[in-house]
């Protein structure tokens, strides 16, 4: 069966549009999609179990989280210094460092580097290049761009966007993938994952062998040594950074860490939080381009340092810690809202609790002001975050900013006004309680829909019959 849904996504032009992200409307589509609900639930349950067993193995886990938090806090407080050090070290190792203020500047820069029309570009998974919508710009310039992470490749073939940081194609069934590969590559509809993967491997291996440019993201950049760290399971990032003559690595400026030795902690936290693995299959420490006499590796290494709103978040002291995120996806996997809506509802490449914080900061509250409300504030995200970002606090802070900007709805203000007045004395509370019970008994007896805004609550719930006496009347 083919899962076809249209999601609210930003347009595929190179000019980003500021369309309000309607989380409620977007999530409605996901909620109506029964197969998606089933797949998501299985995936999330599996991810959570894997993470827990990998974390339990490390007795120092909490100390490591604290260390990672403190290291990131330090690196962010002295970000200017570490970026300059990183630049010196990368340059010293033979790489070239570029700076980009915004998505537009980054796209132009990378398109210029990738060069003339007809260039073949292979990409390994990178949230940052999704963020700047790089593929559209490269294709616009006449390059052939291939996403090479299996999930990302399938998403690209389908003309969609990733649904999950770590599992981009979690929203598609095997049958949907078989139909997609069959249609796009002219192969039979294979019915097992092994065969489907083999088909993709063969198609992608050819792309790798003829590629001119490899583009990757960056998980960590070490200021001390100028080393770019790339973490993956498939080997496509290794191929993209080994075979083409040019490697372009794209990173947000917040990814820099001070010392090589800090990686001991970060590489213990990241794979276990992301996929529940002790270590991802491949971790590459890349320091400069290929050296004299070496048989492979890129002849040119370019590192693009992207701001695109990060300096503004950095200057916002109560939001700064959101820049510590290492993109593991653990907060998505424990979030009861994400488990039902999936990533597309968030209208951005960053979804789940961290997306509900980052997207409003990147795009503005007028565009993404709904997102901080897409949370039950259960706190699970903050509990699992390997760098101890206080996600619930950040969500609450953004909510109060949204309310200050938009103002609360009349109904909400009326309700609060009534509440404040009812709570001012015991007598008023008793009277209000009596009135409420009478109304509630009547409403639950007649099964009428409640008036707005209560209708939104009662749309999927029965109004319970109230007890004859209030709790305080029974105990007094």
């Amino acid at each position: 069966m083919v899962v076809t849904t249209t999601y609210d996504r930003r347009p595929t032009t190179v000019f980003p549009m500021t369309k309000r992200i309607d989380f409620e409307q977007n999530s409605e589509k996901a909620l109506q999609n029964a197969p998606l609900q089933a797949t998501l639930r299985t995936a999330m349950v599996r991810f959570r179990a894997l993470r827990i067993s990998a974390v339990e193995e490390i007795p120092d886990w909490q100390a490591l989280r604290q260390h990672a938090h403190d290291t990131k806090a330090h690196a962010l407080a002295h970000l200017d210094r570490y970026l300059e050090q990183l630049e010196r070290q990368v340059t010293g190792a033979g790489g070239v460092v570029h700076w980009a203020r915004d998505a537009d500047e980054a796209r132009n820069l990378i398109t210029r580097l990738a060069g003339s029309s007809g260039r073949r570009v292979v990409k390994s998974k990178s949230m940052t290049t999704e963020e700047i919508e790089l593929n559209d710009a490269l294709e616009h310039a006449g390059c052939e761009v291939t996403e090479t992470d299996l999930g990302e490749y399938l998403v690209q073939l389908a003309g969609e966007r990733p649904a999950h940081i770590i599992a981009p194609v979690v929203h598609k069934s095997k049958e949907a993938i078989a139909a997609l590969l069959s249609e796009k590559l002219g192969v039979p509809r294979y019915d097992d994952a092994q065969e489907l993967t083999r088909v993709a491997r063969e198609a992608l291996r050819r792309k790798f062998l003829e590629a001119d440019v490899g583009i990757s993201g960056v998980n960590f950049a070490v200021a001390e040594t100028g080393t770019i760290v790339v973490v993956e399971n498939e080997g496509n990032a290794r191929l993209a950074t080994t075979l083409p003559r040019m490697h372009i690595a794209v990173m947000g400026i917040e990814k820099v860490i001070p010392r090589l030795a800090d990686l001991d902690v970060f590489l213990t936290l990241l794979p276990r939080s992301a996929t529940g693995q002790r270590m991802s299959s491949y971790v590459s420490f890349l320091t400069g381009p290929r050296r004299a006499g070496e048989a492979d590796g890129p002849q040119e290494l370019h590192l693009v340092l992207l701001d695109n709103g990060r300096t503004a978040i950095h200057a916002d002291s109560s939001m700064r810690e959101s820049l510590a995120c290492i993109r593991c996806g653990a907060c998505l996997n424990v979030c009861p809202v994400f488990e039902r809506t999936a990533g597309h509802a968030y209208g951005s490449e960053y979804s789940g609790p961290i997306g509900a914080v980052l997207t409003p900061l990147f795009e503005g509250l007028d565009v993404a002001g709904d997102l901080p409300f897409a949370s039950s504030l259960c706190g699970a995200c903050g509990e699992v975050c390997p760098v101890k970002i206080e996600l619930p606090r950040l969500l609450l802070e953004l909510r109060s900013r949204v309310v200050r900007q938009r103002g609360a709805p009349v109904a909400e203000r009326l309700f609060v006004w009534g509440w404040v007045n009812a709570m001012k004395s015991a007598r008023r509370l008793a009277i209000a309680g009596k009135v409420a019970r009478v109304v509630q008994r009547f409403m639950s007896a007649v099964h009428l829909p409640l008036p707005y805004p209560f209708s939104r609550w009662s749309a999927s719930r029965e109004l319970p019959t109230p007890p004859a006496k209030a709790f305080r009347e029974r105990t007094l």
Partner: protein, 205 residues
């Protein structure tokens, strides 16, 4: 002219608040004894095959493996540990690709790649491979089978041990934990999506 670099750095400096101390590096609670059996357990769990061997038996063990799996072309590193193996392979009908024959197409056509590993990390079952003219990157990446040789005394407890023992970094330091894998299609684990389907370690005791 103001550059993007100046603008970004200026913004960061203007926003810089109070200094925040850099924490001391923690000592991870890593085991210090019986690292070899821990490495074997964890590497096996990650899908790596392990065979113990000795320097003397290595060449014949590898040739047995290559013959058994019907390998025709093998790409291999130039290394002191592999000298005898290379000499023995030359005496077989197998085609051997030296580091200077590592054009991408030829390595992609090899059935197996033979490398050494600088270190093995017991806690995670990870191999650590460096890179140099004699040690190309693609030997462990393009062929469907990767055979790696490591002396048992190079098994260390944690990544931290590797980081403190590594001298100046090579252009690529690669950490390999099991075969290439994906679970992108309905969470079904599949091996060998882009890199090798099989990784086999010869632990020299």
């Amino acid at each position: 002219m103001t550059t993007a670099r100046d603008v970004i750095l200026t913004r960061l400096r203007q926003a810089a608040g109070p200094a925040v101390p850099l924490p001391e590096l923690p000592r991870l609670n890593a085991p210090r004894s019986d690292l070899i059996s821990l490495f074997i357990e964890r590497a096996t769990a990650a899908g790596t095959e392990i065979e113990t061997s000795s320097v003397e038996r290595l060449a014949s063990t590898i040739i047995d493996e290559l013959t058994r799996t019907r390998v025709n072309r093998v790409a291999m590193w130039e290394d002191r540990l592999l000298t005898q193996t290379r000499a023995a392979l030359r005496a077989t009908p197998l085609e051997v690709l030296d580091p200077w024959d590592h054009a991408r197409e030829s390595v992609a056509g090899a059935d197996a790649g033979i490398t050494i590993a600088d270190f093995a990390i017991a806690l995670t079952g990870t191999l650590v491979l460096d890179c140099s003219p004699a040690h190309p990157r693609s030997t462990s990446l393009l062929p469907p089978v990767h055979l790696a040789v490591i002396p048992a005394e190079h098994v260390v407890a944690s990544l931290g041990d590797v980081l403190t023992r590594t001298g100046p970094l090579p252009s690529a330091l690669t950490f390999i934990t099991g075969p290439s894998r994906t679970a992108d299609i309905e969470l079904t684990p599949v091996l060998g999506v882009h890199g090798p389907t099989r990784v086999k370690v010869y632990l020299l005791t």
